[in-house]
Subunit: 294 residues, 2 copies
């Protein structure tokens, strides 16, 4: 069955997912963003409605993707007079990186009004959203997942059902926790190498061939060397995601000193007014003299 | 020209390097270790001399590989009445992971008596020493390096001249610094995943396909899951190497909070009497309940 698709939260990820679904022939009927001009622009591009409010999204669509910033934004859009108004039968696919507990709270709210919620956690970035090559991990009712599987496949190169609501967000939190630590680690290694006067191209090559190799070495080292911090995944998001993992760790009584140090580094970047730079900007804290350029 | 080769420090790495050189047809004439029975056993295996003291190593060999534990051991073997006795013309190839400053000190001591020193830093582990597939980074006089290049190639799959004395040790310190952080990060992610009740095989697979991927995920994750901490690279060595990097960072005024947290984790393992376990044992600190098994 063809779905009427809505999208809420038209940031870098959400807007590209909308474009991708349209490219694949899906019927994107409505979009919404707090920034009205952003919604109007995308609606014009996709020839669909820019909903005046959230209830209008639910009224127009039967599958609504949400890609918002954080737990607080998530709770606000799922208010009774917002997305959940007359929402019986609607399926919400929640793609933001929020806490596992918030996914559970939203799923319960949806169930109370006869709607369904899936969490679809993305471990990828903006180009992958545009190209339909996301790494998607889904939590929630498996039957609801199977109903949407072919649609979700058009967004992803890897689609995996993880388990009940909250489980995918837990996995996602751990992915970003480890990724953020590895990124901050790389920034320390390269920053110290720079301070020692080493040839950083050689250093990166040695890292790549030894136990220091990592995915973030491939994706972030070059940007750290040349200070190209155009944002794919912001330092503020990194701080938020490491914070989600660290809160899980506190609740589970697991000691995570590296992840705490990593969150502190990203919060320091935010305090310095650089939270909207890419996560690779953590190297600004470790390369000699860079903070003096502010 | 065929070299007469000596080896000092017959731990896991040194003994395997001796075996490899013998396999390749090189003339290993003398070995030495503080543990006399270890030296006697390897000498019998290789049909060479077990030197009664360090001066006897220098007397018998013209190329001496040293693979000792730390800066202190390094300074003691290079005393005037030890390896440096009648050492004019001898080339010392120093393979231990020690501080860059100690490599410089030893090189100066060698020069004072007419001997030569190369640092040959290994970014690999025990099987690679045995198979001659080490990742070797060499610092020191380039002409001395070229003289020994074909011999060193028999020990390595990748051989790279890095620069003046101390430079290779700096690169090595940074490699191990980043590797150790990534290892401790993985232990946090998997330990928290375990505490949350996630399927850790799935979690590792997701890590491998996302920004959380790393070389240590390939080498250490499986061992962390099943607590197989047979030693390839000990927790005590990890603490030492992170400590070398952290001392470089202090001197260079670079802030490395993650590396400091990592050194603290490895020192905690040592304090718990587990310093001789493999570096993967850092997961003992993060998996729920493991410390209770002591």
């Amino acid at each position: 069955m063809a779905h009427k698709i809505g999208l809420v939260g038209l940031g870098r990820m959400g807007a590209n997912m909308a474009r991708r679904m349209k490219d694949c022939g899906h019927e994107v009927v409505v979009v919404h963003d707090l920034r009205k001009e952003v919604a109007d622009e995308l609606a014009a591009e996709l020839a669909c409605e820019a909903a005046p409010d959230l209830a209008a999204v639910t009224a127009a669509a039967d599958v609504v993707f949400t890609v918002v910033t954080d737990d607080e934004a998530m709770r606000s859009i799922f208010a009774d007079d917002a997305l959940l108004k007359d929402a019986a039968g609607t399926v919400f696919v929640n793609c933001a990186t929020i806490s596992p507990a918030m996914h559970e709270e939203v799923a319960a709210s949806c169930e109370a009004v006869g709607a369904k919620a899936l969490e679809a956690c993305m471990a990828s970035s903006i180009p992958q959203a545009r190209d339909g090559t996301l790494y998607l991990m889904v939590g929630g009712d498996e039957a609801v997942f199977r109903d949407l599987e072919s649609l979700l496949k058009d967004l992803s190169k890897s689609l995996r059902y993880i388990g009940e609501t909250g489980r995918a967000a837990q996995v996602k939190a751990l992915v970003n926790m480890v990724m953020n630590i590895n990124t901050a680690a790389l920034a320390e290694g390269l920053g110290l190498g720079k301070a020692l006067g080493l040839d950083l191209e050689v250093l990166c090559e040695v890292f790549s061939q030894t136990g220091a190799n990592s995915r973030v070495l491939e994706t972030d080292a070059g940007d750290m060397l040349v200070r190209d911090h155009d944002c794919y995944f912001s330092a503020a998001h990194a701080a938020k995601d490491s914070g989600i993992a660290n809160a899980l760790a506190v609740a589970a009584k697991v000691d995570v000193p590296l992840s705490k140090a990593t969150e502190a580094q990203y919060r320091r970047l935010m305090d310095l007014g650089r939270g909207e730079l890419d996560k690779s900007a953590v190297a600004e804290l470790t390369f000699p003299g860079r903070l003096d350029d502010a």
